[in-house]
Symmetry: C2
Subunit: 330 residues, 2 copies
């Protein structure tokens, strides 16, 4: 295993030091391992907290800032954050209007965020939660009961974050987050496994001519293994899986996401195919992101996430955002 | 070789189709293979044109837009664009104030941009050029006489682009581009080779415990091969090479750049070390970028680029930019 690290035990804290050094707009609490907006808490604004295992960067820490998250709690690599992190984050962002927890549907994340929410209630912090479960690939997996949460997490964080910035109450911010999740679906494909530093070897084996369909973001097994094929055919497999679950029409927001080791050139090739597929179905990608946003360390592969937009969601998507990983139009 | 492509002969055009579909702010001329700002040419504004081999995305096409490039010419993978592309691009962005060619120092790029500049002169388009040669690793290489052009290209494109946006004349825009290049130095390190689609196999072999120091952006050999080690030590090797060439002090702009296959978490770990190194030398990274900006397909590794700032350069760096790959503060 060759990685650009100082030791397998310090990857998370060393990366947090780097984020602190690179982004003056953030306040990184190294003791509690929480990444805050520097200006948190904002009085009267709902505070948004997310978190999950490390190794998916820029998710979540890279999405802390104006118009998106107020704090993120990075767990160890592919490991849920502990409740104490979530409590510290929630306290630190509570400006009196309550706190929204955005939780990807993995058993450990769900349990730890729930425990944190209960303890926040004891301290009179009002908490609501949005559970993200957009991955159509498998119903249950090694890490999850029900669907996994993947790319739509970014959409929920951006759109709920934009609404929170307007001063909307907690119930509304939670409602829009759930709406985004309900209108979004994802599917992932891996060409290679990834290597968790502490494990030192790939999470699974995949032959030179094989791909894994319906992969999750932790290198866990997907729906099925098949032979490698053209980008066009692979996109069709992924989009059919999404379409079977949620027929697509009208205006959509599309994320073509690299898993960490995929060249951007290939992501654009995939996007062209996704766009053509949507067109064929009478839908359009009116908003899009192409790049590495919800990654699995060094895995080669991609995921595609589609959200069926409404005017309100489009407006909130377009609203200004200023984070290390997503930034526009302030 | 597993890649997310439709065929080794169509990777560039397929990726251009994806860029066209994803970015309404661009006008992609598929026949001539040129990526334009949609609003080009802008009357009275110096037009900025860059280009080079594909496989380095988001460089250059991802940097076309307000405050940066007016057009980019992607060659085939790791292959210079042909003069005709550069001529089409120059014609398309000439708003009467002349055109600046930003050229990375590779023999083919230099020759083809020079030829294009001469032909532009025949058509009464005034052209000036900035040659980028920031890589301190090797004096001559397989692809280059003199130093190679790498990460500083992004700095030149951003800062010259910002000045051009103010309506500055061609001579001034060229001057600032050269100043940025002169004040910038880079060094790259590879953990793995990359695989060019048309070749179908890695550009070189590297053992399980070896790294290549002073790598270029085409998978060409570097300065030396050594044993893999901690991020801290690797950063020291890279930064010492830069420092030996250009002593660093005061305020700097730092790019910690992934080569395409490196997890963002590792880039932040590296940034923390770069920041500590600079501090030790009495310098500070007052502006920074951490991510995949000047890549080599799926290579694992990184490069670090440092620019010694002036007040003018900092102001131009901070100026609004709106491109697919770099975007802020409009």
């Amino acid at each position: 295993m060759k990685k650009l690290i100082n030791g397998v035990d310090t990857v998370v804290i060393d990366a947090l030091r780097g984020m602190a050094a690179a982004h003056p707009s953030l306040r990184v609490d190294l003791d509690n391992k929480v990444i805050f907006r520097r200006d948190a808490p904002r009085r009267g604004k709902v505070g948004l907290v997310s978190g999950g295992g490390s190794g998916h960067e820029p998710l979540h820490g890279g999405f802390v800032g104006y118009g998106m998250l107020d704090a993120a709690c990075p767990g160890e690599v592919f490991t849920s954050p502990v409740p104490d992190q979530v409590i510290e984050a929630s306290k630190g962002v509570d400006g009196g209007a309550g706190v929204l927890h955005i939780v990807k549907n993995y058993t450990g994340d769900v349990l730890n965020f729930e425990m944190a929410a209960e303890l926040c209630a004891d301290e009179s912090i009002e908490v609501a939660s949005v559970l993200v479960n957009d991955d159509v690939a498998v119903r249950d997996s090694l890490y999850t009961a029900g669907r996994r949460g993947t790319g739509a997490t970014l959409f929920v964080e951006k759109i709920a974050g934009a609404l929170a910035e307007t001063g909307a109450p907690l119930a509304d911010v939670a409602r829009i987050g759930r709406e985004v999740n309900e209108r979004s679906r994802s599917f992932g494909v891996a060409l290679t496994p990834c290597t968790v530093p502490a494990a030192g070897k790939p999470t699974f084996e995949l032959g030179d001519t094989e791909i894994e369909l319906g992969i999750g973001i932790h290198g866990e097994p997907g729906r099925t293994r098949t032979s490698h094929r053209d980008a066009r055919e692979i996109v069709r497999l992924a989009m059919d899986a999404i379409y079977d679950d949620l027929p697509l029409s009208g205006e959509t927001l599309v994320l073509v996401n690299g898993m960490g080791g995929t060249p951007l050139m290939e992501l654009y090739i995939l996007f062209a195919e996704v766009s053509a597929y949507l067109h064929e179905k009478g839908a359009t990608a009116v908003r899009s992101l192409v790049g590495n946003y919800v990654t699995s360390l060094d895995m080669q592969g991609f995921s595609v996430t589609v959200c069926r937009l409404t005017d309100e969601l489009t407006r909130l998507w377009d609203a200004p955002v200023e984070t290390p990983g997503l930034r526009w139009g302030r």
